[in-house]
Amino acid sequence: MALERSEVEKIAHLARLGLDEADLPRTTETLNNILGLIDRMQAVDTTGVEPLAHPLETTQRLRADQVTERNQRDQYQAVAPAVEDGLYLVPKVIE
């Protein structure tokens, strides 16, 4: 099943990846080559086989509901592109 150009644009939008018009044909072709490889899966009979999400099939441990971390906001925000008064700045979202 080959992807059309419009589907590639939709996937890029879902992934919030800007796509260069000029790159679209090449990107579409490469993705279709990869999907061609992936589609070999469909020939495998997996009837009755349960999906395996975790190699050891353990469940996630839960920790006690206690505060263990101190506030390090200033330190974490030191690497942000733009902050003010402890808030992350982005372009205006609401007019």
């Binding site: 999906p51 395996l52 690497v79 372009p91």
Partner: protein, 483 residues
């Protein structure tokens, strides 16, 4: 001094033959001399390394001992290092100075290891050639026109060129074992959950594992001993006692049952590599091992399954790089969507974008069952193959890679051809079992690797077999001519 292994360094430091500071200075000088050619480091932390070395010397002078106290290493640049640039080989993290240490970094630092810096890698660990790094390709010390493998290519090249005795790596589909094979090193991917993933920049969370890379199995044992163990900060790390890896090295191999999977010796394998691998088997037989032909029938389905699961998890993990909280932000965004889209388009390289898009597609409405769940069902078949095989044998042996190190640029035009190189390594990640690659000889001056696979949590068995092999062979002691 640069030819010493970690084990020899530990003895030299204990005997006061040299200090950690002298050793660190010698290696920093070697990095300055050679890394312009290799490009194995993204960041060299000279001042910090000398401080750590002096601190290690002081601890030793105060009576403290420890195999890694004063041992020089470096970290793959996807381990977060507090106060040090952590790029993951990507432009999108070009300015990310981590506010915290990864657990692996913390543990090795506590053991007294001296970190010389951060090593080059494929961007977000996506690649098998170390050519997708934003910081340029890494050269293979055995032949500078060839790739060192990836994604831990900087770790591999630096150790092979004797700039370092050992380093950390990570392995999602072979990223420790394949570069180890292509550069003549020993590298171990532990059981999923054996080593904490906390502070490792995530690629595919159900497959990623950190492990040691070095020039001998003994050195890998020394590093793993300090790296392994339960971490409350990583809910997938496993609460199971850590073996004494050094003590296990000297167990005799008498009675060891080795399985040779027919699927690992079939079409696509360079026949000369097959010969080298079978020669290893002959040596292990003289040490008391017995050999049996086995089958892992679902092996050929591993690549399609992996190239759904890994990109799907990556598309989710990499959504955090949005230009808002850290990392690269595009110039003059007109609105929030533009900020996201352009920061990501400009910040990620081609291979990362491809995998994000494949993963996004596989997880999108209407395709989840056909792709992601299907891949997970195949994943169980692959695990079942191993469980069955380990009912009959103690260890599985085969080639690490189907081919020798290829020329820089050779596989760039066709990503799928590079994906196929992962055939023998990705099954261990899908099943979660441990795997080790060790040197098995040379073809046309290029190293060949043999891979050993063991049941869950039997890292000690892998290190034991590799160490015993390395007691009667010297492939692992060979150095590239120019280094």
């Amino acid at each position: 001094m640069h030819r010493l292994t970690l084990a020899q360094i530990a003895r030299g430091l204990a005997d006061k033959a040299f200090s950690a500071e002298e050793l660190t200075r010698a290696l920093l000088a070697r990095i300055a001399e050679h890394d312009g050619t290799l490009n194995s480091f993204i960041t060299v932390t000279e001042e910090r390394a000398l401080e750590q070395a002096r601190a290690a010397d002081a601890r030793r002078a105060a009576g403290e001992q420890g195999a890694l106290l004063g041992a020089p290493i470096a970290h793959k640049d996807l381990f977060c290092t507090k106060g040090v640039l952590t790029t993951c080989g990507s432009k999108i993290l070009h300015n990310f100075v981590s506010p915290y240490d990864a657990t692996v970094v913390e543990k090795l630092t506590a053991a007294g290891a001296v970190s010389l810096g951060k090593l080059n890698m494929d961007e977000f660990a996506m690649g098998s050639a170390n050519e997708s790094s934003h910081y340029g390709p890494v050269k293979n010390p055995w032949d500078l026109s060839r790739v060192p493998g990836g994604s831990s290519g900087g770790s591999a090249a630096a150790i092979a060129a004797r700039l370092l005795p050992a380093a950390t790596g990570t392995d999602t589909g072979g990223s420790i074992r394949q570069p180890a094979a292509l550069t003549g090193l020993t590298g171990l991917k532990p059981t999923y959950g054996r080593v904490s993933r906390w502070g490792m920049v995530a690629y595919a969370s159900s497959l990623d594992q950190a492990g040691p890379m070095a020039r001998s199995a003994e050195d890998c044992a020394l590093l793993l001993q300090a790296m392994a163990g339960l971490d409350p900060k990583d809910s997938t790390s496993v609460d199971q006692p850590v073996d004494d890896y050094l003590a296990a090295l000297n167990q005799p191999l008498a009675g060891l049952r080795i399985g040779l999977p027919k699927e690992y010796f079939g079409e696509g394998l360079d026949a000369r590599i097959a010969d080298k691998v079978l020669a290893v088997v002959e040596v292990l037989k003289t040490l008391g091992a017995t050999v049996k032909d086995i089958s892992l029938p679902n092996t050929r389905h591993a690549i399609p399954s992996y190239y759904v699961i890994a990109p799907a998890e990556a598309s989710s993990n990499l959504s955090r790089f949005d230009g808002v909280r850290f990392g690269y932000r595009c110039e003059n965004p007109v609105d929030l969507t533009d900020l996201y889209k352009r920061s990501r388009a400009e910040g990620f390289g081609d291979e990362v974008k491809r995998r994000i898009m494949v993963g996004t597609y596989a997880l999108s409405a209407g395709y989840y069952d056909a792709y992601y769940l299907k891949a997970q069902r195949i994943r169980r078949l692959i695990k079942n193959d191993f469980v069955e095989a380990f009912g009959e044998v103690d260890l599985i042996l085969g080639p690490t890679t189907p081919n020798l190190a290829w020329k820089l640029g050779e596989k760039n035009a066709d990503p799928v051809s590079a994906y196929l190189e992962d055939i023998y390594t990705i099954t261990a990640n899908l099943a979660g079992i441990p795997g080790l690659s060790m040197p098995a000889g040379f073809i046309d001056g290029l190293p060949v690797g043999v891979q050993l696979l063991a049941p869950y949590f039997q890292e000690s068995r892998l290190l034991n077999v590799a160490h015993q092999y390395q007691q009667v062979t010297d492939w692992h002691k060979q150095a590239p001519e120019s280094f």
